[in-house]
Symmetry: C2
Subunit: 490 residues, 2 copies
């Protein structure tokens, strides 16, 4: 039997790293900061992609594909944008290798230097807006509602699988609109889609809010975000939706004839979620025995393990199980019947627990006689004996219930770990224990920076549903009109 | 009304370029050799992806994701592999930009030079086999059946949208097996899947064959391929499946304990198709009026255009059409009702013809009275008046018939343009007219090279179903045991 995972309370960070590895989700590659997403991890990501893609298309977006490379001069066109990304760019400078003349091996051919260096996209606003310039002439060409699924590269110095990697997978939406109102509505609509996805698919409650100027996307007028709480009480930014104003339109001279027949700059948005969500999913729900996956994203929703001593028993169980498997599949449930004889039932139980399969059925000789089956749920670790008849309906209801229970548990956890804080002493004390701190802030970047410097806490967001409340800043004592959320974050 | 396309007979190459542009499939980007795949083009690619992905999964393959970057030393480990790819590699040498001290703008930071250069993957055998080394210890870990959907970069000097681009999208399967037989069977299975996809989805007949040593994948022992004929009589390699022998296992020291408990090198395969298939799809079927899409890959299968003079007429037509649209969608048919008043019906007809929508319905005042509708098929450009009742069934049958007709037409074209050639004079003469030349070849690389030099024709493949036939090489006169396929190719 494999060694137990480190426990969350002992070493949360080690628990995460080991779990990612043991559950076969991903691993570090030989290339610094780049990960290999393994088949089981990728199957979860594919489910996420499918659900999000459907939601994007339902709201009128289309997929397209833009180049991996961005000419250096493009990246430089929007001043704050290049400022934000210059420090972490992978740069292509040459386009050929050759054999060294001294026979020492393969080298970069110095004669094959690019005239202009190419940046591996860290995000695609610049290359996309340079293209939109040719696509947009009049208001009739708007809105342009486009998304792309792609890989991007940010040369981060400290990386962590799924959470912060040099290369990651994501989707990036880039829309263009005739009016400011329309672009703002789009920014908000996409935030709502992300929140719905996080809550209904990932079973992960999120807080919708606005980023402060310090935390804004480089090149945006406004950044909306969803913030989730992990089980160590830290925050994780799970998705962002940016209102770009006319910044990229101006940088790339994208003008259009409006209905009044005058030239105007186009309004833009961009929005994205990434494989970081995999990290969020793991840290939001899993426990010391392994993954806990919400049924809607589980590659295998139900595993069935036969318990037998003789081949005849196995045959009898299999004869009973096969029609059930077919019926479950027909009902849209993904199910695996694990009758391999390479491993014992106990090993299988632990393995599927580690992999977060939401429902486990076990059937042995006595079940066969009684017309029953043992059914175990991963989230609560409860077991019950239920009649074999009507099992498909029972399982469908159970899967819904698990999805809801996981969400409720994460929500209750967040509630229990969210604190109204009124003094800086309280602030520091609570922060070390973890959680979201609802505190007054005077609205200045200086105070925000000073708090970050002193405590490593950042303002996660100004909640969209912030209550108006007169108060004084927890740090400076200056007046404030409402609380914002502070936390340490991934 | 937009200008007509160039005709195929006049200038096939211009016809292709203009069609790609006008049908909104893709365009060249500001980055040399890299394309932008536009939403309509990408929607076709997504349908291709979905169909292929389903076939891969049905045969037990799983998706995963490996890094974009390959350390230069990895690429060099398999000698013929690096030989094949070194001349067209995009090389990342630095990881940061900075502001120039003289204020001249943003430059590559010379202090941020990578210790080892990274190659943007041209294909992923090396990075994947370096990973497989950690995943494979015993025969129990085999077979490993993995696929990835990814972008790759080959710095081609002469590029052409979809057909040969610096960056392209593809899938690459990489499998590992315990025995040579199993790996060979996998190589063949994937070739068959590609052929099935080309014929049943793309409606494009293909010839399955083996590549000669000259045309083999760099690092393979054997390359199987499917070859299609375009309407100008040239060949297009539409997919390849490689038997890698133990080459990459040896280069990356991937050994396993076999059932006899001895160490052995793992056997490998790799196989891929790319966005090149988009070029093949266009060139196989389209005509001087625009795209002709097989229904199974058409983003819009049916378009419905109302013909009206008054708002009341439009309302009456819409009331009749709406339930039909719902019924068609329920039947799995993708349908668009274009009641926009921005364009006249004639304009719409031309536009949907250009975009290759397989079936067009038009309904006017008289149809309304008579309970009929005009139905036009894109492939044959025929029209008929049919009763409105039972239309869904009629359309479903029609879509099947169009799929078959397009295939049959392409097949007949290939038959008519395939020639048995017995002298080199005939060979040269026919080649200028286009087509596949079935000719005897002496089996040597020298002869193959000489023919290529003299005629620009290459051996497309040695057909898997080659008939045994004694003959003499069309070039050297030396003995040959069967005919191979020569053609000029994309």
């Amino acid at each position: 039997m494999a060694k137990a995972l480190p426990s969350r309370s002992e070493n949360y960070s080690e628990w995460y790293n080991e779990l990612v590895k043991r559950a076969d989700l991903a691993e570090n590659s030989a290339v610094r900061g780049c990960m290999v997403i393994k088949p089981y991890g990728f199957a979860i990501w594919e489910k996420m992609q499918r659900a999000l893609d459907d939601m994007f298309k339902e709201t009128g977006h289309q997929n397209a594909y833009f180049p991996l490379f961005i000419p250096k001069s493009f990246l430089s066109k929007e001043a704050s944008h290049v400022e934000g990304f210059a420090k972490e760019c992978a740069v292509v400078t040459h386009y050929r290798l050759k054999n060294a003349e001294d026979g020492s091996g393969v080298i970069v051919d110095p004669d094959a230097k690019l005239e202009e260096e190419l940046i591996v996209r860290p995000t695609s606003e610049t290359v996309i807006w340079s293209t939109y310039k040719n696509w947009i002439q009049s208001y009739r060409d708007l809105p342009l509602l486009i998304n792309q699924w792609a890989n991007v590269v940010r040369w981060e110095m400290r990386t962590r699988i799924f959470l912060r990697t040099a290369e990651f997978l994501w989707q990036e939406g880039h829309t263009a609109h005739a009016t400011k109102d329309e672009a703002e509505a789009e920014t908000r609509q996409m935030l709502d889609i992300y929140a719905t996805f996080a809550e209904e698919w990932m079973a992960m409650p999120v807080i919708k809010g606005t980023k402060t100027a310090n935390e804004r996307f480089a090149g945006a007028d406004d950044t909306l975000c969803i913030e989730a709480m992990m089980q160590d009480g830290k925050a994780l930014q799970a998705g962002t939706s940016h209102f770009l104003g006319q910044n990229f339109a101006k940088a790339f001279d994208v003008q259009f004839l409006n209905k009044q027949n005058t030239l105007d700059y186009v309004w833009g948005t961009s929005w994205g979620v990434s494989t970081r969500l995999m990290g969020a999913l793991i840290m939001a729900h899993s426990d010391d025995d392994g993954l806990v996956l919400p049924p809607k994203l589980a590659p295998i929703q139900v595993v069935i393990v036969p318990i037998y001593r003789t081949d005849e028993q196995l045959e009898a169980i299999t004869a009973k199980i096969k029609p059930l498997v077919a019926e479950l599949r027909k009902a849209g449930v993904s199910v695996k019947y694990d009758d391999s004889d390479a491993n014992k039932p106990g090993w299988k139980f632990a393995e599927y627990e580690l992999r977060g399969v939401p429902v486990r059925l076990a059937m042995g000789g006595r079940d066969l006689e009684n017309g029953t089956v043992e059914i175990a749920r991963r989230d609560l670790k409860t077991k019950e004996i239920v009649p074999f008849d009507g099992l498909t309906e029972h399982i469908k209801t159970l899967l819904d219930s698990i999805q809801q229970t996981i969400y409720d548990r994460a929500h209750a956890f967040r509630q229990a770990n969210t604190f109204r804080i009124d003094t800086f002493e309280q602030f520091q004390e609570q922060l070390d224990k973890g959680g979201f701190l609802l505190a007054h802030w005077d609205g200045t970047s200086e105070t925000e920076e000073a708090i970050k410097e002193a405590t490593k806490a950042t303002i996660r967001c100004i909640p969209l549903d912030q209550e108006a409340e007169e108060g004084s800043c927890v740090y400076s004592g200056k007046p404030s009109a409402g609380r914002v959320i502070f936390a340490r974050a991934y």
